[in-house]
Subunit: 332 residues, 2 copies
């Protein structure tokens, strides 16, 4: 970092540069046991109960895209970060940074999307803030949401609980959110519109926990896609993750769009998919709870800590690296 | 609002237009009992304990000013919103929206200020997020903080508890934050630099509560200054507030700068001052706890609900209105 004098777009991309920024600027200043968990949310022990607390800002461009908008994203993204700690999402805050001149009708549409998404996810928006910046000093609308969830189960999924032998389950097909955004930006037309997978994930996570499954770790796939999520867990857990590419579902139209755009679907953003890491004994029940789109895609091993390997259809394995940034800036 | 097609700078100014935005766009969509409290924080009942939850985004320009920077502001502003609900501030989140090209050194300085302010206020920064937007689509750095506080006392200060006869206490002199910002923006030089009053307010509030005083309502003075804070409370509480101008402390250099700039100090922003509304019987002890800078500046009456009057040194009273926006945009 010493040789990077200015912040680059890639520092916000969820990849290697962002990790370096966190490790060289944020952690040295703020470091404390809760922040050092490096989980999607901080788990706070109130003595008689535990809550989860998380935040995300949303700067997606364009504001509206097939399958959602910045409002659905701002609610579901934060709901999902809470769910990944095993918490039931309950209360959200919303901070709006509006560029002067934004059509009032645009704001209304986004607010209605947020309320619809909040109702669907079972959360309440309980506090908020509005700031307006001069024209040319923003980009229409940025939204920050923070969220509080209540941990109702003794399990506390976290990378530290992953052990060699655990299996990796992926909840559905990947890459649709990123491609939905790209199709609008690039003006691409597909035979059938590719819609974002943006969705709240609290219900499937709560179902896994209520069935008493031993969920060691959960991670929703956002910036940087499946590959980045796997790399983050492998590093934080100190295990090797071996993934079978043929088990990872990618819809034909997403694969086609990725070929056209020169993108690797393994790195394309999602907003409604997650991985669950659990003991093999619980795998059949987990797949049963998650439904027919879920697949076991690999396992944790005690090879090289922090390494993710991908075995292709021919059985040849390669290293699945963390990219320096995001293939698609401002995807969320 | 029907006749305002686009968002204006004044919609973020903490005045009448912002109230209209909240009432016509946000409350109709999100309305729920917690949001409808219209307090600085939402008070959430977890069954066995109560927590306060709040958020604010900070878009102050310039990033650094005499007495503080966007980092101190981002910590203290949220700490203060929690304290105003009688909560002890404990945990903060931080969301950074960085414009590509921001010097890494600027980010480091701000982060260090945040950590220093957090340590001073006794809070921990436990979760965060970083987004980077393209050059020209932001303004250096915006920060959102959300915060959680724990309510340790049975009292729950809120506008609804204000009753006619209550007295209004102001914790110190007003207008320094706004003037500190303006002096940098306008390149003004004063004989002695005017520093922002930016400070955490949890300690004096906790002291009031620990002394068992009946605090009916608390409000920190931010955008829109003392006048806006008083108007918000008068409206939310349904009382008239009668203020004695001669009791409101304004430092000579602030008064001079205001005359030069054509500003009314009653509307100039603060970031480390608050008003406490309490029964007259508790006034002597409250002034004793708050120290020599605190003053009783007026009282609540049952005249016209929502009205604030200001009696000048000659005994002539005038209405102290809510402005449509903020005299100084992007003050916090």
């Amino acid at each position: 970092m010493a040789d990077v004098p200015n912040v680059l777009l890639a520092h916000g991309g969820g990849g290697r540069l962002m990790n370096e920024l966190i490790e060289s600027v944020f952690l040295p200043a703020f470091g404390n046991p809760l922040l050092d968990q490096r989980n999607d949310s901080a788990v706070i022990d109130l003595g008689d109960r535990r809550i989860a607390f998380t935040t995300d800002s949303y700067v997606v461009r364009p504001l509206f895209f097939p399958g959602g908008d910045i409002g659905t994203l701002a609610v579901n993204g934060t709901v999902n970060d809470l769910a990944m700690c095993g918490a039931r999402p309950r209360w959200l805050s919303a901070g709006f940074i509006i560029e002067e001149g934004l059509p009032m009708e645009t704001l209304r549409r986004v607010v209605q999307s947020m309320q619809h998404a909040a109702a669907t996810a079972g959360v309440q928006l309980v506090t908020g803030d509005t700031k307006v910046v001069d024209k040319g000093k923003g980009d229409g609308l940025f939204i920050n949401t923070a969220g509080i969830g209540v941990i109702e189960h003794p399990a506390a999924p976290a990378p530290a609980h992953v052990v060699p032998g655990d299996v990796v389950v992926l909840s559905g097909d990947i890459g649709r959110h990123g491609i939905a955004i790209m199709s609008v930006r690039e003006g691409l037309q597909f035979e059938s519109a590719i819609e974002s997978d943006c969705a709240p994930l609290a219900a499937p996570v709560m179902a896994l926990l209520e069935h008493g499954l031993q969920i060691h770790c959960l991670r929703d796939l956002t910036r940087g896609g499946l590959a980045s999520g796997l790399n983050e867990i492998a590093m934080a857990a100190g295990v090797q993750l071996d993934i079978d590419e043929s088990a990872v579902a990618v819809r034909d139209e997403v694969r086609g769009a990725c070929e056209l755009l020169g993108l690797d679907p393994l790195y394309v953003a999602n907003e409604g998919r997650f991985i669950a890491i659990l003991p093999p004994a619980d795998l059949p029940r987990a797949l049963d709870v998650l439904g027919s789109d879920a697949r076991c895609i690999g396992a944790a091993g005690d090879g090289t800590a922090g390494l993710v390997t991908l075995k292709n259809r021919l059985g040849v394995a390669r290293v699945l690296d963390l990219l320096s940034g995001e293939q698609l800036p401002r995807i969320c």
